[in-house]
Symmetry: C2
Subunit: 215 residues, 2 copies
């Protein structure tokens, strides 16, 4: 019996997923959480599940942070990430975090079934769509491979993006980050290139799409 925990702050979707999964043979949803923090609490007092279905866009502790925690503290748990939007950035970042599969929220129930099945039998699941994007990135010499190697966001950049998605000015952001305003300029310019945008609004859009900032 494969044991699964669901993590998503939308109760109804979560229940829906649970109902579907419990219909499958050999699968059982043993717990449901609303965010990463709840998951950690649950894991502290309960036996480890085999799979965690993790929503990327959550309020309290989002999917990215939670996956990072899981990789570090519970590396044997397989993570299947649920995404709302899709983008190359998320993709690469998630792979780095050891996520074993990615499933778009607009996926059909049969996609869900395939994902859950494959991830337990073969260790990982990636849809054709996901794989295609990866291949395209590798093939796209000018931007693609560079991104594969370099477009991962470090903690500083993530922190910057979170602060940039606000009414603050860059000076204020620099203060908050305890950095020289010039350095903040560099971080921003770096992100312009990495994320292929040319304005702060563009950065904000990418950040939101990728669950880096939670609304």
């Amino acid at each position: 019996m494969i044991r699964i925990i669901l993590v998503d702050d939308h109760v109804m979707l979560r229940n829906a997923l649970a109902a579907r999964i419990n219909e499958f043979e050999n699968f059982k949803v043993v717990d449901q959480c609303s965010n990463g923090k709840e998951l950690i609490l649950t894991l502290e007092t309960n036996p480890e599940p085999d799979v965690v279905l993790l929503d990327l866009n959550m309020k309290e502790m989002n999917g990215m942070e939670t996956a990072q925690w899981l990789k570090k503290n519970r590396p044997s748990i397989k993570v299947l990430m649920l995404t709302m939007y899709d983008s190359e950035l998320t993709l690469i970042q998630l792979l780095q975090l050891g996520v074993k599969g990615i499933l778009h929220k607009s996926a059909s129930p049969s996609d869900l079934r395939a994902a859950i099945n494959t991830i337990t039998t073969e260790g990982q699941y990636f849809s054709n769509h996901t794989t295609t994007k990866l291949v395209n990135m590798v093939n796209n010499k000018e931007a693609g491979t560079k991104r594969l190697q370099k477009s991962l966001l470090n903690d500083e950049e993530v922190f910057f993006l979170q602060l940039a998605c606000s009414d603050m000015t860059y000076k204020e952001v620099a203060q908050r980050m305890k950095l020289n305003p010039r350095t903040v300029d560099s971080i921003r310019d770096q992100l312009f290139i990495k994320l292929d945008v040319k304005s702060r609004v563009g950065l904000a859009m990418v950040a939101i799409r990728n669950g880096i900032v939670s609304l």
Copy 2:
């Protein structure tokens, strides 16, 4: 038998809702659509439902636009709006569009049941949370009442917001809107006041939260 159509681009959540609703007595989900356009097509060839469960944040034709269309073309259909985030702006705007109820996506199945039941028996459903916010707005003299009267966005402002959530400069936005750049400045300044932000990024955030721009 109350006939219901679901409109949401997340298949699994949609199916979950459908399953729940079909469990209720006297309710039946007669159709499911992924966005407003599909709904319109469906309505053209099928008999009118009693209730439409409408997601606010959709790609093709979002909930706001769809509600507007329904108000004009199918005024007898009751609209229950599903929201991802919540904000005062959405609230007022939705009420103006004749929406008969608002349900947050993090609502529980029992909330869903209450909403569906109440909307059909009493004509409308608003949660305590929603009502409380409305009351607060009315009581808050300085900003509240003004917002109630004035914070509704007209088509021009909505269009501006959609364009503002991009890498475009205001000049380019002005060109696209066929307006003088100064006029675009005024629209922006107006929105700063209405939405209580002081930068373009702030505008973008509000616009996304309210489903005015779809990512």
